[in-house]
Assembly symmetry: none
Homo-oligomer: 195 residues x 4
Amino acid sequence: MENAKLTKRKKQAIQTKQNIYNAALALIQHKSFDDVTIEEISKKAEVSVGSFYYYFHSKEDIYLSMFKKLDEELFRDFNPGDYPQSGEDLLITFFLQLARSVSDLGLNIIKYSLFKEGPVPYYKDLYMSEALQKIIKTGQADNVFTSSMSEDEMTEYLFIIMQGVMLDWCITDEGYSLEEKTEQLMRRVVLSIKY
Amino acid sequence: MENAKLTKRKKQAIQTKQNIYNAALALIQHKSFDDVTIEEISKKAEVSVGSFYYYFHSKEDIYLSMFKKLDEELFRDFNPGDYPQSGEDLLITFFLQLARSVSDLGLNIIKYSLFKEGPVPYYKDLYMSEALQKIIKTGQADNVFTSSMSEDEMTEYLFIIMQGVMLDWCITDEGYSLEEKTEQLMRRVVLSIKY
Amino acid sequence: MENAKLTKRKKQAIQTKQNIYNAALALIQHKSFDDVTIEEISKKAEVSVGSFYYYFHSKEDIYLSMFKKLDEELFRDFNPGDYPQSGEDLLITFFLQLARSVSDLGLNIIKYSLFKEGPVPYYKDLYMSEALQKIIKTGQADNVFTSSMSEDEMTEYLFIIMQGVMLDWCITDEGYSLEEKTEQLMRRVVLSIKY
Amino acid sequence: MENAKLTKRKKQAIQTKQNIYNAALALIQHKSFDDVTIEEISKKAEVSVGSFYYYFHSKEDIYLSMFKKLDEELFRDFNPGDYPQSGEDLLITFFLQLARSVSDLGLNIIKYSLFKEGPVPYYKDLYMSEALQKIIKTGQADNVFTSSMSEDEMTEYLFIIMQGVMLDWCITDEGYSLEEKTEQLMRRVVLSIKY
DNA sequence: TATGAATGAGCGTTCATTCAT
DNA sequence: CATGAATGAACGCTCATTCAT
């Protein structure tokens, strides 16, 4: 019934916020987040600067939104059982999915997220982290992955490496397919955690 | 005899440049390179802003100095034969040395280096890259490392992962010993490239 | 009804821009445009530096505004038929009008305009140029001016000389009445283009 | 006997000053005087900045040197009797010579000279002014030029116009031959001062 | 909700000039 | 005569944020 209650005004507000969000997202494809100004975003979204600040507390705020949205949309409902594969293949699938969405989001938001001063949502607090842990847990239970590392350790281990891959992709300015490179490297890495 | 000819003035000049360099280095320990201003550096070095620019062409210039100095000092004359170990142990030694100097230099210069727009000395152009390649070559020749990857591929593979480690250390704001983590992770990674 | 709709805020904004403009104009009376700083202008206009840049894109921008305003206001709607005189007298009237407004604007803006590097609105692109050409055309048609020069040539010829007059006035630092000198010289110059 | 007395040192000093002068002259061909720095001049002359200031009191100083040198070399010893022509043709010759040397000197020094704040050597104080006056005097005596203007007035009149020509040539960035334009315009102007 | 005018601290860089050596 | 290290005030411009309307 809640939806029904949405007044026209309320709907408009949601749309406006979405417009701002989309404008920011679009702009960030082509330049670093630091180089995108509020004015620019507002202009592209066809709203005033004041409106921007009505919907987002600060520049930081919209960045956080982007980052978390990525995480939530992709991994909040991640459930290993939903996938046909398991073990190594599921792991690769997971990282490919991550690679794909990072590709879509563009490197700039990732760049920024990785190197912000101040409170950055660290991967350990993200849904994706939880998802990865589930895969590992299952893998270890099935004796596919070694048990010489704890779940936590292995999660961290893999994330650190995945970050290295994304970083390299960023530095080389998207010079190659992130997905391909991810698959190639991760296949190799898996060798080090096999049972 | 040339060194003997260094006049007092010339010596003073060298000292001044060094002072500026040191001041910059010290400041960068505590905040990001972007947040360090020329005025700040100059004040700490007890010289004028003009002097800063007399010795360094730009802000970019002093950053490049720092970065290249690290690379040159550590790895220009790197020769696997100089070390008692070989194969896996030498590899670990190499990365530990890198970790140690990165720790010394501070994370901020690394942060900045990893994410500069524009011409960044990418690891492939660095002495350290050359050094690593030598280790791998020798290791492959000795049948310690697998030959299912080329030298180049393996160098890239390892660097990407090492960057992941450094990045994690940066993000968590030096929350642990980079050296320990490096050893721990790299020992594991080696499993994936063993013969 | 649109004008009536000007809110108080909008009016205030227009006033602010005008204040900045006036402040710049006032300052430029006493020193060269290069020597007038944005801070100075802003202070005199009792606004912040940011406001200056809100209304004018750059220092160049406000200069262009001044220059074009002069040209537009005086000569956009210039029509020889509007004046009782013709031929020589109209020509003199034209140059006197130019001299008068240049006097008003002050020599510094003229100085600057004459010697800017980069895109300067050259007199050939100005309304005043068009106006002069009309006078000449009419004069030639009436056999008042010689036809041994084309319209274009004569326009250029006269403008070059007029520029010489303004330049002299600038160099001697407004040491005499520009209008008087203009009349005196131009009366003489006319002898060289008579029929 | 004085020349014989010139010690080697003295000679060297003169040479050094000349080198600096030449360096400045060369640099000014390609950019405005304001954009030429003392350091640049010194480097090109292969002397130290300190040496520059030993030979020239200031940046202003070397500019004045250039300007006066032009005037002195060309017109100090100007004597109408040395030329075969007279009247109108001599006048044209005079302006052509001026145009030629201005062309050689480059527009930048002219630009700067015309628009300096502060003490500029005004044409009335220059040898070239004297030279022109002689031409006019003779021309008037020979009833070639009108006597309805005084010598002084006519000198000023012609100089003002000539300045206009140079100015136009500067503004259009040397877009045409100064000499050709000078001849063309001055031939026309002469019509206005004929007897 | 929405606007957009207004803020102002802050930054990297330049360069003529000085002066101890 | 010659050097070149050192100075430091000055400038144009940016932009996240605020707040009266």
